[in-house]
Structures are given as structure tokens and as C-alpha cells.
Symmetry: D3
Subunit: 282 residues, 6 copies
């Protein structure tokens, strides 16, 4: 596999069919500036279309942080959206239009991880706050290290988060009371708490172990029929957003084509013969 070069992300292939996306900004604790979220959308749109990729591990470089949220130095730069000058705000209605457009694009960039047709496994370690939680909510699975520090941090800077944490978190974990507590207090929470409420799938001592587990999961998913795996991700996200009947109808319509695949006889034959199946690209 070969991938385009990106400025802020390393994309590699640790195994056949598996891609690894790494935020490459350890010196800033992998904090995000606007060019980064514009680029991350290109990364995940490319991987979504790349038939040589069946599953994706997503992690941050360095020892200290998966991602420290928004890059405050970038935010403070004159000309940044986060540092408007007073004439930008001269008319509150026009400024609001600017905010909306900015937020729509920012949301769309981060949502590209969720829209990606292949499963994404996020490895979380160290500082993982603010925007890191928005990002992690878009991944399908989350594994973390025991030293991880999570926080839905936005209220601490006077902001109600609008890049997805508050929209997605209530549909991800099993306690609305807990979602409200961490969102309204902005307090830190750690690996065990994240595991208990169902935010992460598993916890490991070291980043290396967490990476290893993510890769193991990615390899399993990559070894299955991509028709089945990508359909499964799609059905789950569709069903989250619709009532039961709309979910059932949609899955039946989708499978009208999807069961008409050689992957099914290939998978079944491999199972009987206890061989590793080979599936065509998708």
C-alpha cells in the first residue's frame, strides 16, 4: 500500500489491509489547528475510498498525549477564527453566520472519521481532552492506556462543545447522568471510569500494549469480508439515528445487493475447510 504524504499525519500500513493514522505533532501534544482538521478530512476520505484498506488504527505520536485539544497558540494567532478583531463582531448577526459556517466545516472535518466506510480504532493515551473527545467519539472502537486523562473540557473556556461530544456522547455510553456530570463540570476522568461507563473497549498499561491491541482488532476486522464489515458499521450508525422500523427496512434494502456477493460462499467454504479466506477488494 502507498498513501499520499500529509503534513500533520503519518499514514502507514503496519499490516496488509490495515492502515495506521498517527497525529504527527508530539511537540504540541498533538493539539489541532485549522489546517490539521482540514487535512484530517482528506486523510479519512482517502482511506474510505482506498480499496487496499479494510480497517484503521488512529493514534497520537509521542508519549504524553493523544491530543491536547485545540492548539491554543494557533487560536491566539491574529487572523485565526478564534482571535477575531472587533470589526468582525461589529454586527452580531453577521458574526454568527461566520461562526456557523466555521463550525459546520469543523464538524464536517471531524465527522469524516465517522463517515469513513472502514472501521476506525482509536488509541488514547496521556492527555486526551477537549477536541480529543470529539474526535474519539467519531471512532468505532476506543482502547486506552491506564494513564489516560480525558475531559469534556469546553465549559472551562466558556464554551458549550459543538464539534460532536455533546451530540454523540449520550448515544455512546450507558449513563446519561455520567455524561451530564463530566460535561457540566469539565472534570478529568481516567481509564477505569471510561471503561466502566462503556466509553472505551479496554485498558492497557502501556501505549505499546494499547497499540498492539488496536492492531490485533484491526487485523481481525481486515480478515473478514469487507462487504460484511462495512455493511455492519453502516447499519449500526444508521440504526443509532433512526427508529427500529426504519432501521430494519434500510438493512433489508442494502442487503438486496450485499448478499449477492461471492464473499458469502468464500467465507463459508473457508469456515468448513478451516482456511483463511481471500476476499476481493472493496
Amino acid at each position: 500500500m502507498s498513501f499520499p504524504q500529509y503534513q500533520y499525519f503519518n499514514v502507514s500500513s503496519p499490516e496488509k489491509w490495515v492502515a495506521h493514522v498517527e497525529i504527527n505533532r508530539a511537540e504540541k501534544l498533538n493539539a489541532f489547528s485549522e489546517p490539521m482538521w482540514l487535512e484530517i478530512r482528506r486523510v479519512f476520505e482517502n482511506l474510505s475510498d482506498d480499496a487496499a484498506v479494510r480497517s484503521i488504527v488512529f493514534s497520537g505520536s509521542g508519549d504524553k498525549a493523544f491530543c491536547a485539544g485545540l492548539d491554543v497558540d494557533y487560536a491566539a494567532t491574529p487572523g485565526s477564527f478564534f482571535n477575531p478583531d472587533s470589526k468582525d463582531k461589529a454586527d452580531a448577526a453577521r458574526y454568527a453566520a461566520r461562526v456557523r459556517r466555521f463550525a459546520y466545516e469543523f464538524q464536517d472535518c471531524i465527522s469524516s472519521i465517522e463517515r469513513c466506510e472502514k472501521p476506525v480504532i482509536c488509541v488514547l493515551h496521556g492527555v486526551s481532552i477537549g477536541l480529543a473527545v470529539d474526535i474519539a467519539c467519531c471512532a468505532d472502537l476506543r482502547v486506552c492506556t491506564s494513564n489516560v486523562t480525558f475531559a469534556v473540557k469546553e465549559v472551562d473556556i466558556g464554551l458549550a462543545a459543538d464539534i460532536g461530544s455533546l451530540t454523540r456522547l449520550p448515544k455512546i455510553v450507558g449513563s446519561y447522568a455520567w455524561v451530564k456530570e463530566v460535561s457540566l463540570t469539565a472534570r478529568n476522568f481516567g481509564a477505569q471510569e471510561a471503561l466502566r461507563v462503556g466509553f472505551v473497549n479496554s485498558v492497557f498499561q502501556t501505549k505499546a500494549e494499547a497499540m498492539s491491541e488496536a492492531l490485533r482488532l484491526a487485523k481481525i476486522m481486515a480478515s473478514k469480508s469487507p462487504v460484511a464489515v462495512q455493511g455492519t458499521k453502516n447499519f449500526l450508525d444508521w440504526s443509532r439515528d433512526h427508529d427500529i422500523m426504519t432501521g430494519l427496512r434500510y438493512t433489508a434494502v442494502w442487503n438486496g445487493a450485499a448478499v449477492n456477493t461471492t464473499d458469502i460462499p468464500v467465507a463459508m467454504a473457508s469456515m468448513r475447510q478451516k482456511k483463511v479466506p481471500t476476499f476481493e477488494k472493496l
Copy 2:
């Protein structure tokens, strides 16, 4: 109580007001063929209408399995939907129509358990994979044995599940990350994990103990006002599929008639007098 005879299901009454439905195909690990899901719809539609029934225990016969999913021998039979000959697939659009109609009916048969107006308690033991999970998701309560083996198995045969597991599971358990893990990897999971994520209500050492608990729960439900119990099941499933306001309005409209019942004074008097209430049939 007397029930119709069925070919693949034993239906009996272990206690007044309680029905027991048993999948009667232990020699095939209670795996399902098409005639079975057509018949199970009749079973649950009859029980839903049967005023002598107030709660239902649903289990599998034999020691080894609640249900091993789809009966692969049936699926391999010439003429089975799962074994089309090539001319069935000559036109992909026409084959898709056939798949949709088949899936709609299959979904409708399994959903009959959810539609049944009386609460259904499912007892899960041994092999409980694939279609067994779709079925279990339609029950109201789930108890299991410690030796149970669950799997959302469909991706292993090249298929994204469309009979309800992927539609219902995200609304049943408390971790979307976990749902995605088990659905995308098809890995087995056991009783303790199912308990932790909220898929099952409780775990027992033996099938006999699990059956006993299911019967205990069924008897409790059968001892309450059927107006109240059936309304409660209905309100919960309605509310799962609608927003809060639509839920509140609907429950108030329903109760316009439902509170106009003698069950309320009967229940209250029994409570005061510490007697067992007797409720009319519903």
C-alpha cells in the same frame, strides 16, 4: 390453559397465567429453518391474543444450545432462499427484490416476539449465536447461564446482520463501543461480559437455575394487573423509538382509557389488605 400444537415449539403452561415456549429441536442445537420462523410468528401472535397468558418464558430444549442460529443444512437445501441457483441471480435488481421480500418477512417473524403484548423472558444457555442474538434482542428480559456463548456471528459468513441485532443492540446495551467491537469482530462473548454491558439481567450456574429465575420473574409479572403490565411494555418500546414529547403525549392518551379500569381499585385494596389481587382477563 391449552395451546395449539406446533411442529417446532413446545408451548405449555408451567403456572397459571404463564406460558413457556421452548424451541424443540435440540438435535440441531435449535437452529432455525424458514418453517420455524414462520411458525414462531404464529406462536407469539397467538400468545399475544390469548387472554389466559400474562407473561412468557422462552427457552431452548436440550443442554447444548439456546439456538445455534440459522440451520446450515436447511440453508444448503436446493430451493432454499440461501441456496439460489444462478438463474435466480440473472438480474441483480430482481434478485434484490426477492432478498428484500424474504428479509421483510423474516424480520416480521422475529419481531413478533417484540410485538407480543405480554412480557417475554428469554433464557439463554450454551450456544446462542447469530440468529439467537436477533431473537434475544426482541425479548424483554434476558437471563442466562454462566456457560452461554454469544456471538453476533454474521460477518464470519460474509453478511451484515439484517434481522435486528444491528438495529436493536445499540438501544439495548450501554456501550456503543462494545456493540461495534462484537459486531465487527464476530467474537464470542460470555455471560459476565453480557451482564456487565447490560445485555442480560442475571447469570446462573445451571440452566435449571436460569429457568427457575425466568419463571419467578414471569410469575411476578403475571400476578400484577395485566392492564398495567402490558401498558408498561408498550410505553417502553414506544418511547425507545420516539422523542420525549411524543412519548409523554402517547402515554397520556393511552391512559385516558387504561386508568378507567377496576384493576386500580382492586390493586389498591389488595395492597391495603395485603391480599393477592385477582384481575380480570385481558
Copy 3:
């Protein structure tokens, strides 16, 4: 801060920006009559509008109960809705209209806790059954004592609950199987079980300790930007009721105005200077 006098509720301010609402009917185990739910709506609507209040602790007076549900003596009073005379029921359609109107208003009164723009932390101790669960479901956070007794009690009196427990509970906790069990059996459940399923945030030995924790949380929330905190509560409740895209769009539209606040620079400066920020009233 000063508050209006209420008949059934003590409203005080234990800390700057924090209000404490106490059900003041310990002699009746804080059970509710109709005048009480009409008054509680006024309490929470006033607090929602009161710019001197940023977070609210809600608890019951006395040692024995947060709330024993509906006041059965009130319910038995001639002229009470719950004690209709036979001519009220002469025409079932007209009686249903009366039930609907009564239920809509009752629902609206209890929902005022959820509608309140400021976060509400409910302290639950002792008897907390029936209507107490409907009420607690409307709060944002719930802390309890280890001696608390919860029950979705309505089926025991022949009733399917319509004041919100059955509508909200499936969206609050992480096991639909558990919701169905406690709702269909009306059995008691305690603090540890409530913690495990995510119904409560934390458990304390004594009511004093639980009150202390609630106050601690309330103070934290009151110390943050009210623009951020009230936006966060609003976004979470909106997102619970809508699909992801509707949630993302709405939050971006809201923030068009909300980020145009001095709270953000104030919060950021305080963070840098490690000082306590001061936010204007909202």
C-alpha cells in the same frame, strides 16, 4: 439571593449562585399532592429565570424519604382526580379527555425540572419510589445514599407510569433489559444497583454526605461560565431527542451567538493567571 415563599418547598441559597430546593413535607414522606406539583413548576420556572442562580440542589426533608410518590391520602380525597365519582366516568370518552388534560399538566409540572435552564442535582435517600423516580429522571445528576430504596412502583397499583419514568429511563441508563425488569416487576432496587446501571452518579453512606457531594458539584458548575454550562445542558437534552445531524446543526446555530461572549476571554485569562473568573449574570 432571595426567593419567593412556597408552601411545600423550602428554597434557599447555601452558596452564592447555588439554590437548594427541599421538599418540605417530611411528615408525609414528602409524598406529592396536586398543589405540590403545581407549585414545583413555579419553583423551577422561577429558578430558571433567576439570574442569581447557576445550579440547583434538589432534595427531600427528613430522614426517611426523598419522596414516597403520590400522596395516597390526597388521592383518596373526594374531589381529587384520583377519586372520581361514578358520574365522572359516565362517558368513557369524556373521562379520557379529563385524564389526558390532567396528565398533560402533571407531566408539564414535573418536566419543569428538565426544562429549567440551570443544572439540577437530585439527592435521593430513603424511600424514593413511584413519582420520585419520574422526578429524579428530570434532574441532570443524581446522587444517593446507600439506604435508598427505588421502585418504578406504578404497576403495583394497576397503572402504567405516564409522568415520564417509562419515557425517560430507557434514555438514561445503559441496560434496556434492566429498565424492563424493574418497570415490569415494580421491585425495589438499591443504591449499588442504581450506580451499576448508571442511574445515579455516586453513592454515600449518609444523607449529609450525599448533600455535601451535591453541593460540591453545584458549586463547581456555578463557578463556570453560565453561558457554557447552560448551553451544555441544552445541547445534551436536544441531542438525546434528535439525530446526529440535527444535533450538530443546532449546536452550531446556538453557538453563533454563544461564542460571542466575554465569558470566553474571561475564562481563558483566569486559566492562564490561575485566578477565579467572574462571570456576568445570565
Copy 4:
């Protein structure tokens, strides 16, 4: 083509691929009893599955009426749902359950016309009131004679219609004010008014002419690709019930299989060669 014999409906084939369903009860003005709506469901489910049928004309026998609504003699029969004896109503909650179940089945029977995968063209003449409107709302097209008399008649007998007129009519015609007027007054309306508001497609002097137009339309639809025609009906009804994005996604998923059909090259070649295309059965 050959069809099953039905008791209350004549089903014939006036043209290849076209079925004609006629209500065969002219002596009762084609008024409906319960056995009739149970049978009409079988009629339309069979036609939906019958690959020899591509479009359906639906009309009433005799000169006087398409359908005079509910058969009042049937309704007055002892044992009919509409003539309960007082013990059926002894408990209003139990009677409500009976009403609900009855209404669900009645709705489901009439909705079978809408669910039918092939387009249905309804020919309306003479008396067409009450249930006739519920039925007509389920058809895809409606043509009528100039002497037709329509009425949403239910309020005249103390009833708010629940078999579909009030649910579907606001989504069929172009004036909500008009829907409310005819529904709340139960007044008659005629052909020209029905045409003006968009309830009917066209108006003809005689029943023969209206039948002829319906047959002409049915033949056109039957001459087109059944993949395209049945998909089109399905997309329109789906889109009526969902938001734009859910509509767009669903149609793209469906067409994943549907465009993979020989009907497209067959249709295109026929167009170029100005020949009549021949499509395989569906």
C-alpha cells in the same frame, strides 16, 4: 393470468400485466363488513407478490357507488365489533385494548393497498364516503366521475376517523385548511373540488370513461420497467415519511442493486429503436 377466487372482490386481467380489482357488492353500495377488509388484504398481498401483475385498477361494481363506507347492517349485527354488548365494556381499559387490536388490524388491511408494490389506480364514482376515503387515500392515483360524492363522514357518527383518512389526507392534498374543513364538517365535496385540491388526478363524465382512463394509465405503467416503476412508488412513499437526507440515502442504497438490471439497456435500446421493450417478470 389467473387469480384466486374471492368472495367480495372480482379480480380479473383486462390487459396483459394489468389487474382489475372490483368491489363486488353493488347491492349494498359496496359497503364494507369485516370479512371484506380481511379479504381485501389477501387480494392486495397476492397482487403485490404476483409477478404477472404490474399495475392495478381498483373500482366498485354498479352504478351508484364506489363504496358507501362501513356496512351499517353488518355493524348492527349482534357480535359485530360495532355492536358490543355491555359486558364487553364493563372495564374501559379492557375494552380499549379490544378497540386498539381491532383498529390495528383494520388499518393493516386497508394499508395493504398502499403496501402493494405495484401502482394502484382507484376509480371513484357515485357515493364514496367514510371508509371509501380511507381506501382511496391508500391508492396511488385517483380518477373520478363528475357525479362522485365524497365525504370524510366519520364525525357525523360521533367518530374521529382512525383508518387513515386523517393521517394521510394532509400529506396528499395541497391545502391543510381544506382538509380541516371537510374533516371537521363532514360535508360532501364533489369532483371539481377534489380536482382543485389535488385529491384526484382527473374527472370524467361517466364511469366508463373514468375506467377507460384508469386502464390507459395502468397500461402505460405496465409497459415500463417494473424495476423502475416499483422503485418509484417505493421511493415516493418512503420520502413522504422521512426527511430529505434519509430519503436521498435510502434511494441510493436501493439503486445499488436496482440499476444492476437488464431493464436499463433494454429500455434504452427500445427507445433508440422506437420499439416496445420487453421486461422480465418481477
Copy 5:
């Protein structure tokens, strides 16, 4: 019948069971100030609850206008919401919260006309612009004079209407293109155009004739079973907001109680005997 006295509205009873609400501010062209919309909510909530009222005619006093929209003199008053001083706007987020709360209450007041359980027939004459359209959209039927002047006027004052015109109009009339034209240009439109698009039910030469028609319609509705009429209004508004299946289920649940009324036999007997039925209060 006797009604409370109101400051801005005359409420009278021109006929048994019929109420007439008249905006009593002809000298201001019936333009609305905040006290007026607060009062109109009380008017319609009282009428909704008043069992002596079965239908309502709503009109404006004087010859010149049904309603000229917002009272600009009121809006210009210091202290009015529409005339904030600069310190109200010092923080755009806080000002937005004030706008939201104001708009929610304003919307709720006007929506009281729609929420009113009895049908409301609005008589429109002369100037009927801006808020007049928001108000008229909440009525069930609309009749007008040929001299009426309508306009969705808000864009002319720099505002996108938020009191309901833009939310309700697309669901009331039969041309989305027309809705966009009149909303985006703020141009006037008259009686014939309003009739053609389905906004009004009928057009009359004089206000007296329009009033007479409204009264005629109101009397017809008042002569029918109130169980049926109020159910019909409710079903239509519910169905407008929900999909077909949610509409069908809800209507069946409602009718569980509603068909259990003496109005049905009373109505049927009257029909047979060609007598005027007498229905009990509702």
C-alpha cells in the same frame, strides 16, 4: 355562556356552543403588543377548557384590518423587548438568551390557538400582515374578504419570521415555490391568490359575509359530537408532525377510549330519525 373580561379581546357567544373572539383594538389596526399576546394565550386556554364552547370564530374589529402585525409604537417604547438599550446587548450571548426566552414565550402564546382543543375559524379582512399570518397559520380554517392584504412581511424589517409562519406555512399550502416567493420577497398577496394556493377556505365580498360564513361553519362543527370533532382536530395536527405509522397507532390508541362514548349511538339514532342530536358537554 359567560366569559371572563379581557382587556384586548371581546369574547362573546353568538350562538349556543360557539364563541367569538374579536381583537379589540381597531384604532391600532389590531396590531399586537406583548400584553396582547400574553392575554390571547389566556383567552384560548380558557376556551379550550370551557365545556360550553365547541367551536370558535376569531376576527378583528373595525373595517380596516384583521391585524397589522406588531404594534410599532409599542415596539418603540423604551423598555420594550424590541427597543433594547445598548447595555442589554453588551454581551451577545446573554442577549441571545434573552431573545430565545422572549421568542419561546411569544411562540407559545400564539401557538395556544393551535393547541386549543376546539376548532378555530379565522376571519381575515383588510390589512393582515406579519404577525397576522403567524396567527392565521395557527387557526384551523381561514375565510377572508376579497379586499384582504396578506404579507409575510418580516424580511422588510430585517427579520426572518420566528413566530410560526415559516414553520407552519410549508405544511399548510400546496406550493413550496409560492411559500418561498412570498416569504423571500415580502410582497403582498390577496384573496384570490390565497384561495388558489389553499391558504384560505373561501373568499367573500364583505367582512359581514365572511363573518357569516365563519359562523355557519362554526355552527355546523358545534352541532356535531364534540368527541368526534376534537379528536379529528387532534389527529390531523398529530399526523402533520409524524410519519404515517406513528399517526395510525396514535389514532387507534386514542379511539380506545373515544369510541366508548354515547355520542356514537346518539349520533346514529339522530341520523336514522333525522333529528338534531344532543351531545353531553366536553
Copy 6:
């Protein structure tokens, strides 16, 4: 104003604040190839962001056609999506994934007209079939010539339209019966019929007159506050897709910022002084 150069579209500014987009492919009857719909998305995204543009006229070049739908020569080109070779279809599931991705992008390109924040007025003349209807459905207003020929043409080529006609048309016009007729028969319909059902706003003898009317409308919209006009378009499209309450809440939240604009006092002052207002860019 200056605009980028495009290959297939002429973009000009006939008046201050008004843009004119013309399909520039008269020699092909303005039929669309894939590069064209990819480019049209860029055209409308740029116009949406361009603060110098307040309204848009959209038309086709030449005398014969607004747009003849899909360019059949392009479609027949080897390598075109519409001309797959047999190996593309070797696996029906993989081919379906390709179709979906193609359709999603195609839909997204055409939907850019609807997403454009400024109002779009479409001028339709001559041949306007197939894709032309999908496109026209995304515009806000539609004016046409008396010689226009419309057709929802897709069933004639074996296809159920999936680029938006079937999703949007039922929500645009006032007769679902008519939508089904033209969609299921693919028959032509002309200007007067389009006017009658509400598909077009007005009809003109010549293309020049229609262009002139579109420009007149565009100038009116461009003369109003852009805060008001863009808010109005947004509110209408949001409300079409959501229930009334979700519509009301959203509009109030949006206006929290939007009413905090100088456009309101500017507009009001201009009205009083009968001067032309000048609004800042948006």
C-alpha cells in the same frame, strides 16, 4: 463582482448583488456529464460564500432547452459510470458500493443548489426533463416559459430517480396523486399544469420575459436585508424536514444572534423615510 471562470457554466452579475448562472452547453441541450455536476457544486459553494452575492438566477443557454437531463453520449463513453464493463459487475455487492458512492456524490453536487445560503430562482424553458427536474427541485423559486416540457423521465430508461426528484417533489407541490402520476408514467407536462400544481411560480410567453421576471425577483430579494433573506430560506428548508416544535425552537435559537443586527434599525429607518436601505455584506 468578479467570479471564477468555469468550463460549463457562465457566471455573471446582471445587477449589483445578483448573480446569474447559465448552463453553457446549448449544443447538447445543456445535458449534464459528470464533470458538469462536479463543477456546479463548486459554482454554488462559491456563490454561497461570496458576500457580494445576495440572490441567484439560474438558467440554461440557447433556445431549445433548460436541460435535457443526463448527457447520453457521455453516459455511453467507455469508462463512464453509466457504461460499466462486465468485470465491474462481477460481484453485485461491490458494484452496489460503487453505485452508492457515485449516487451520494451526484446527490451532493445537485443538493449544493439547495444548500446555497442565497435564494436561487430557476428559469425553465424548452426541454426540461429527467435531471432537469432534480435540479429545479433544489432551487427556491421556479419560473418558466409556456413552451416548457417537463418530465420525471427516469422510468422510461428503467430507473427510479435517485438524485432528488422523488424525494423532494412530494414536499414541493400540492397533489401527491399528481406526483405519482407524472413519476410513474414519465409523461410530459407543461407550463400550465406545472403552475396549477404549484411546481412553478409563474409562466411567461418567452424566455426573455421569464428571465426578466427572475431578475426582477432576484433584485427584490437582493434589496432586502441579507440577514433576513438568508435566515428565511434556512428556516423554511429546516421546517420542511422537522416537526413544528423542532422548527419553532430552532428559529428562536437562530434569531438569538440574527436579531442582534443593524439591519433591523436600518430597514426600519428606510421604511419610515421611504429610502432605499443599504445593508452590510453577509
